[in-house]
Symmetry: C2
Subunit: 355 residues, 2 copies
């Protein structure tokens, strides 16, 4: 099989000649953007895969500074830490904005449905190409957590430890509801044009609104109250919280693709590790990894009541597992913002399981 | 002063020749749609004012069936129960969709800014016209609660008892954030046309999305999970939760006006009983009514932590007050859905204060 590895700043790109999706669709010339830090040891037992969240990318050492790096929980002096931009993404990996080699035009609306399982299978291919024989740990928050637990079910013998954070074994109705609102925000924009907008600026207004909705779900009542309260902008034209949401909307529009965003929302909606496996309980029973399920007490999107239920489902399935909860005012994004607490939680778990 | 009372089914309409707003703007031929049930006693001491929520109307006996009616907490055999559609509304009272008598066209973008205080002042005018000398009770949930507490501050000597439910003394940053997302959903729609769309169907798509966002905030994780989970529509094209949100979006579009919705969102954002009164604490000290502040344990929009803080602020201001919490899986809308529990809570309070 032809394999090309392109250097691109610190990020590398693997190009696979073809990749078959769960839907049956075949993608050609699939790019996988990734970063690897540290060195794979001779026995190949020190690999760690970091899975990123919805708008994340392969640069885990950047966006998870404090968790990934020398002397951090994911110590790049001890572990070989890999992170890749997901399939369907837009920061180096193949997604809806990529040029379809068969047409010479961006895929747009013709980009096939991608699942969390597809992402995991592609990551598995990447690891094979990198000569990684198994994973000491797979870890991720939010959409990254969906991938982490999917990994433990799809490739049980490949994964020794698994840490999903603020995520789910199957997406909840509440999370599907928010995704639906965000999706509608984008598709309501006339510039969306069914997903075929890559010859123009695209659905900028709708996408910015989607991000506004997202940002609200990623934060907590308390945080917004402490940080903004009823403070107005200097000209008193609006409230600071409105300015903050507008800023984040614009910021994402400038760095992310709306089509990719929708592609990933769809993948999240359909995330269900029990699908085609006889249900959740049977799927969980496939897991042989040690699992640390992590919740966040102020999470409005993947609430702690759900996180504890996920842990209890693992227990019932006989999985070796633990539960930890990040105490934070930051809501869902605490796994990114409370890097020190997250790092400590991960570190303590690894110390226990590594003996 | 000229006063016209029009019969309109069970709902009546008061028309005031003019009404001055907090902003200084003067509205002419202002309609106030209202219903009254029961009889005002000779001493005028049995009047109850019910204030409705964002998309409510004057028909409290309909939308608050189980709370308003014979033998209910707001017993129409004992009390004279009045409810009016708010200023800025679209179900009988003057709002952006009303014809401006000076131009012969709907107000649209020229409709002035309305505040919760304006709503309260107009309700006060209505009560004067009805010969109501004071209120035994003013009560309301959500936007109705904003009016209820505003009443107790604006007209302290007029109000003996006050029950705000799942509401606020000043809108929180979180609530402003959700309102901002809903507002953007409407104004992003090209058919919004700056608010001047009454010659066409208007921003139907954007308004339906706003309602989707609203519905999510009015419900709880647990309710969505219990009721919908990951159930799909019969053709498996989408999840039931998506169908539910789309249904509610469409339903509101069919019965409500987007311009009125925005007008009311703005009024809520600016709700702050401390504004121009030396702040919250000083405003609260004006209250002479007995207050029962009611929260809902699963409320995601006006969370119970905020409700308890509102109660504590009342205590600090020396207001005679109590706090009660509705235990429900239904989230913010529990004050409508858990009518029996709400009725019992109100009934017990009234029994205590009435001696």
């Amino acid at each position: 099989m032809r394999l090309t590895v392109l250097e691109k700043c610190r990020t590398k790109t693997l190009v696979l000649p073809e990749f078959r999706l769960e839907s049956g669709a075949l993608l050609r010339e699939v790019k996988v953007s990734y970063e690897a830090h540290g060195t794979l040891n001779e026995t190949g037992t020190n690999a760690v895969l970091v899975c990123h969240a919805l708008t994340g990318d392969a640069q885990a050492s950047q966006w998870w500074n404090g968790v990934v790096g020398p002397k951090q929980a994911l110590d790049t002096e001890r572990y070989f830490v890999i992170c890749s931009n997901v399939l369907g993404g837009c920061i180096g990996s193949t997604g809806p904005q990529s040029v379809n080699p068969e047409t010479g035009h961006p895929y747009g609306s013709s980009f096939p449905t991608v699942t969390i399982r597809d992402m995991v299978h592609l990551q598995h291919r990447l690891l094979q190409e990198l000569g990684v024989p198994n994973l000491h740990l797979v870890i991720g928050g939010s959409m990254g957590g969906l991938q982490a637990i999917e990994w433990a079910v799809t490739y049980p013998s490949f994964v020794r430890h698994c840490i999903p954070i603020a995520s789910a074994q199957q997406l909840s109705a509440l999370a599907i509801a928010y995704n639906d609102a965000m999706r509608t925000a984008i598709t309501n924009d006339p510039a969306w044009n069914g997903g075929d907008y890559y010859d123009g600026p695209g659905p900028l207004q709708g996408f910015a609104l989607a991000r506004k909705i997202g940002m609200i779900t990623y934060r907590s009542y308390e945080l917004f109250e402490d940080r903004f309260g009823r403070e107005t902008t200097p000209n008193a034209a609006s409230y600071q919280i409105q300015s903050y949401l507008a800023h984040h909307g614009q910021k994402l529009v400038n760095r992310f693709d709306a089509g990719s965003y929708l592609c990933l929302l769809n993948a999240m909606d359909h995330h269900d590790i029990g699908r085609d496996r006889g249900g959740l309980q049977e799927a969980l029973q496939r897991i042989t990894a040690n699992v640390l399920w992590v919740g966040i007490d102020s999470d409005r999107l993947y609430p702690s009541v759900e996180q504890r239920a996920c842990y209890e489902a693992l227990l019932r399935a006989g999985v070796k597992c633990e539960y930890a909860e990040i105490a934070s005012v930051h809501g869902h994004d605490a796994f990114l913002i409370e890097a020190e607490q997250t790092s400590e939680t991960v570190k303590r778990f690894l110390q226990r399981v590594e003996g």
